[in-house]
Every structure is written in structure tokens, then in C-alpha cells.
Symmetry: C2
Subunit: 379 residues, 2 copies
Amino acid sequence: MRSRTIGLLGLGTVGQALVSIIQEVHPDLHVAKALVRDVNRHRTIDIPMTTRPEEILFDPEIDLVVEVTGGRELPRQWITQALAANKDVVTANKEVMAYYGSELLAAARQSGRQLRYEAAVAGGVPILDALTHHLSVVPLRRIDGVLNGTCNFILSQMEHGASYTEALAEAQRLGYAEADPTADVGGDDTARKVLLLAQLGFHLEAAIESVDTVGITGVTAHHLARLETFHLGLRLVGSAIWDKDSLSLRVAPTVYRVPHPFLDLEGPDNAIRVVSQAGAFWFQGPGAGGYATATSVISDIFRIRTHNGSLNPPPPGHYPIRQATSRYVCFTHDPDQSLPLGLPGELQRLGSYAIVAPGFSQEALDEYGLCQFLWGEET
Amino acid sequence: MRSRTIGLLGLGTVGQALVSIIQEVHPDLHVAKALVRDVNRHRTIDIPMTTRPEEILFDPEIDLVVEVTGGRELPRQWITQALAANKDVVTANKEVMAYYGSELLAAARQSGRQLRYEAAVAGGVPILDALTHHLSVVPLRRIDGVLNGTCNFILSQMEHGASYTEALAEAQRLGYAEADPTADVGGDDTARKVLLLAQLGFHLEAAIESVDTVGITGVTAHHLARLETFHLGLRLVGSAIWDKDSLSLRVAPTVYRVPHPFLDLEGPDNAIRVVSQAGAFWFQGPGAGGYATATSVISDIFRIRTHNGSLNPPPPGHYPIRQATSRYVCFTHDPDQSLPLGLPGELQRLGSYAIVAPGFSQEALDEYGLCQFLWGEET
């Protein structure tokens, strides 16, 4: 196992944590240089910096590139260039892997290098390698994950009585939510992560557009209070569900009976459940934070060092992706109104909410003045 | 990745599940022969069998040996012979790894072969590889695990009112407990697993004798009922706790406040919590069963195939192992008697139980008519 010289693209929270862990406990790794936007900005760590990516991508001394910038098009270009320049690559970037993963993994296979991205899903939780090389050695039935800490925080604040607007503002004040929180609360961040999980767990290729995505922007404190009276709770859940010979991919506010491990998540922790013929496996841990995310990055660096070049999974098969066919839990939009009488047979009454059979359209829900949540189908 | 020809030592529940998974979904693996005690016993699967281990250990066609027999001395001998004969080895045997792991891993390093044992701890849960190659890339603080399904079953039966004797008999009737349940209920099985976790997580070598082990044989239904009145519950927990510059290893009936994920375990599921500077990570899943255990074995086979020969961790450092210094939760032995008056200052009263300071001896407890449980120190 030879030592590794690392070029770092990005020196934000994760990049700085990475450098400090390496300097403290891994003297066999060496961060040679970091790409930054502004070399004069104050940082607690001291390493050579550059604003020119080519000084890292084409430095022959650097044999491994770590990308922790975020974004989509520039990282795609950098990762492609690094692989072509015969460097292994580790990225923490779920967005670039969800949009261009197939292309980038093919480039890695072609160049005989490795591309790993453990940190891209659930931060510090060791789920991607376990899914690829352990859990999926027997066929999987489903993967469900609570994968966005910002949504956990907002929902738990709303459970304690805050409005959606108040909860979002508090999340932004504390730095849990971005100035533009669209990707978090709209479900796109979770969709990217569940796509990456599904591709590795079910050995398939799928486009991000095939994930049926509903965020939490329509959830109100009133909905959560209504759920609570039925001993139900709600989290934003990404799911990949195998049924007979096709897979459905979806992100939706999902309802579970209390107690449920997903409902305990109130902040940055993520949780994932993987069900196979061998049983149900649970994983939980910090899904964000510099130190946790950097742990996954370092794990990838070591795994690259101890693996043969052939680690990247072979090109996956193609499975049909079908639309989600879950039942819906419905509530009236008007907090003071109980469910309308004369509901059609597809609606099954249960207290003052209703479960809708698969295929019941949003138009039909609207007609009855209902909003919807996906029901968590426990196996 | 070349195909692998496997020799199987043992064709019980795990061995048969392994063969059927391989035959169903992994045509690139081939089980050439299995060692059995009796070739005439009825089995659902059809592969060549032998009663002579040397027909597997010295067969030049076989390049990987899987040991799923159980026991200690014979497996030690077989694994040593297989490694010397230039074969990689996968074992599910916690006992042989807890007693002879250092010796066997050294033999693997010397012969340039790999020895892996993911299935030896927590059955199908992918914890050993994650601990070795991911979680422990930053220094760990502690590992706690509920690692014995038989004890979970007995304790949950007792929580529902059964006596210890009744619960044990029921576990034996259902096949959850062996005819001789000593290793399960006495804590030795958990001690072996926590030793293996600690060695990988803390990069140390330790003898099984250094695990301070108390089983559940002293726990009564009355104790559990008393705990319940304080919203406490109890499971048999194995712990490895780092404190300043030494490690304590212990197994003990451990008390947690309800709700706690460990207290939900009522059967074969195992759960492990790993705490590092990066946060707390939870793992849960089936800790026993042929299919789950075989999943871990197959994962090891694939990992051997994709790893360089240098996978085995380097010889570990030596850390001081200290005695456990936990506080104790005490109950009077006599169910009708409240705690005696005039307890010494080291005993802190809390309702009708007491927390004893570290170092309070069993003799002193006996003097006051108390029994003890270790208190789960939440971090």
C-alpha cells in the first residue's frame, strides 16, 4: 500500500475537516494542494492553495483527486479530466453523480482508474460500499431512506408547533438550510440520493427524472397535528421498491405509525433501511457535517488503495422503471373541515383521514378538496 | 475478477443457505465439495460431499475455503492448513477468531492469502468491514452492541412475565437456544463478538480473558418488572470503551431508559452503536439465520476477489486494557424488600434502586443484600 498524494478540489467545511483529519491521524496521506475561489480567505488549516484547477488536474505528482465543491457542470468536467489524466477520484458530490454518474463511472472503467462517492449519500454513514459489496449479494426488495437533515429539522420544528415558514427561517438562521432551500425542501436532494442507492443496490441505470418526487413544501403544522392524533408521524422518505420485475423510485412525505425509527430523526442524522431475502437492515448516523463527511472520503481513499483496479461495478443491466403505486393518506385542505361525505370506493376511511387506492389521481384528490401523503407500506 | 472454486467445511444451516444462494444468483462461484459428518443425511441441496477434510484442504482446484462448522480446535487447524496450502479463507466462526484470530491473521499475512470473517459478528449485518475500513479512519470512542439473539428472546419473554427457566425452555423448544446454552446466557458468545469488534475498531490485540463478562443468568422477571416501573429496560450488551489511553472491554446486563433502540430487540436482530469524533453510527439487522449469515460469507468472497492481497490489517498496536469502571444499578435480592437503610456514600439512591460508584465490590454488594446490573452510560 503506497502512500497517496492528494489534490483537493474545494476547501469548505468538508475539505478543511478532511485536511485536519489527515494531518492528525493519517501521515501516510498527503494533501499537496487545494483548489479554492479565494486564496486570501481566512482558514484554520495551512496547505498550498490555487485558484487554477489545472494545477491539480494535470500535476503529475498528484495521483488521487478529491472533489468536494458541489455543483454539477464544473465537477463533471474536472472528474472527467482527472480520470483521463490517470488519477483516481473520490467525490462527495451527490448532484454530479446523480446526473452524470453513468458517464463518469464509464470513464473510470475506460481509464482503469477508480471513482468512489461514499460521502455522496448519508454523509458519514457507510452505506454505499455495504450496499454494493454486501447487502446486494442477494436480491433486494426495497430501500427506504430519510436522507435530508434540513427536512428532518423543519418537520420536527413543525411538530412542535412552528409554521413551515417559521421552521424554514429557523433552519436558515442556524445554517441547516441554504439561502435557496429548493433542493432540500422540494425533494430533489433526496431524489439524487435515492437514485444513487437504487443504482448500486439493484444494479441498474436510471435517470434522475425517473424518481417521482414530492417535497415537504405542502406539509403544514396542521397536517402533522392531525397525524399525531392517530399516532402517526411523517418524514420525507426516498424509496426504491422492487415489485415482480420492475422498480419504482420515489420521494414523498411518508407516514408511519409511532414508534418508528424514521420518526425519531429530528436533525442531521440520516437513516436507511434495506430489505432483502436475508431480512431488514438498518443504518443510521450523521448525514452531514464536515467531520462525518470527511470520514467517508477517507474511507474511499483507503479502499481505492487496497482494491484492485477492477473495483468499479460492471455496467449495470437495464430494468423497467415503473411509476410508484403507493396508497395515499389524504387530509382535507381546510383544517376545520372533516373529510367530505360520499367519497368513492377507492377511498378507505380511517378516522378523519383516508387511504386512497393506487392510481387515484391528483385531479380526483383535488376534486374532493384533499391533499395527499404517501403511506409508508411497512413490510 | 476470475471465478472462484470453493471448498466448504460444514453443510449445516449456513452452509446449505450459502450453496443455494450461489446456485441461484452467483454462477461465477462454484462450490466444488463440502465436508460433512455424515454423507447419508438428507439435505435439500446436491453437491459432492466428503468426510475427509484433506480432500478439501489439499485439493489444488479449490482456491478458497469457507469454514462454517463452529468449534475451536479443529477449525484452527483447518484454517491454518488452508492458508498454508495457498488458499484464501472465509469463516463465520466467532469462537476460533476470538481465541486464535491473531495467530490465524498472522498466518494469512505470512502466506500472502486473505482471511475474512464478516459473518462472525452480528450475522448478516455489514459491521466488520465498515468498522475496519470506514468508521475507524477517525479514532473511536466506544462500541456497544446487543449481539446475542437468544438473550434478547429470553429477556423479552421475561418482560412479558415468564420466569428465566420458562423463557430458556421456550427458546430451546423453538431452536433459538442450544441444548447447552452456557455460551449464550453466560455472556461468552457476546464477549467473543465484542472482542472482535474492539480489535478491528481500536486496532489492538487482546485476549478473550480481558473481557469482563457477566451473563443474564442472574436476571429475574422481578428485576425486569422493577426496572419497568422506572421506565428502564435491560439487554445483554457488549462494550468496548476508550478512556484517555486505555480500553475497557465488558459484557453485562445493561440498563437503558425507555425508549432505546437496544430495548426494542426481542429476537434474532442484533444492533451495534459505534461512537467516534464523527458522531454516533447505528447498525441493526438479523444476527443469525442461514440466509443472513451466508450473505456476509458471500460478501467476504467477493471482497477477497476485488482486493489486493494486502487487505489483512497490519499487526495491531498494543494498548493497555483496563478493568471496566462502570457504575452499577442495584436491586435487593428479596423482591419484597426495599433498599436497606444506611447505605454507604458510594451508593446514590434513585427511587428504590441505587447507582453504585466505580470500584464498589461484589462483596460489598453482597453485604447489603444487593444484586447488580451495569448501568448503560449514554454519551
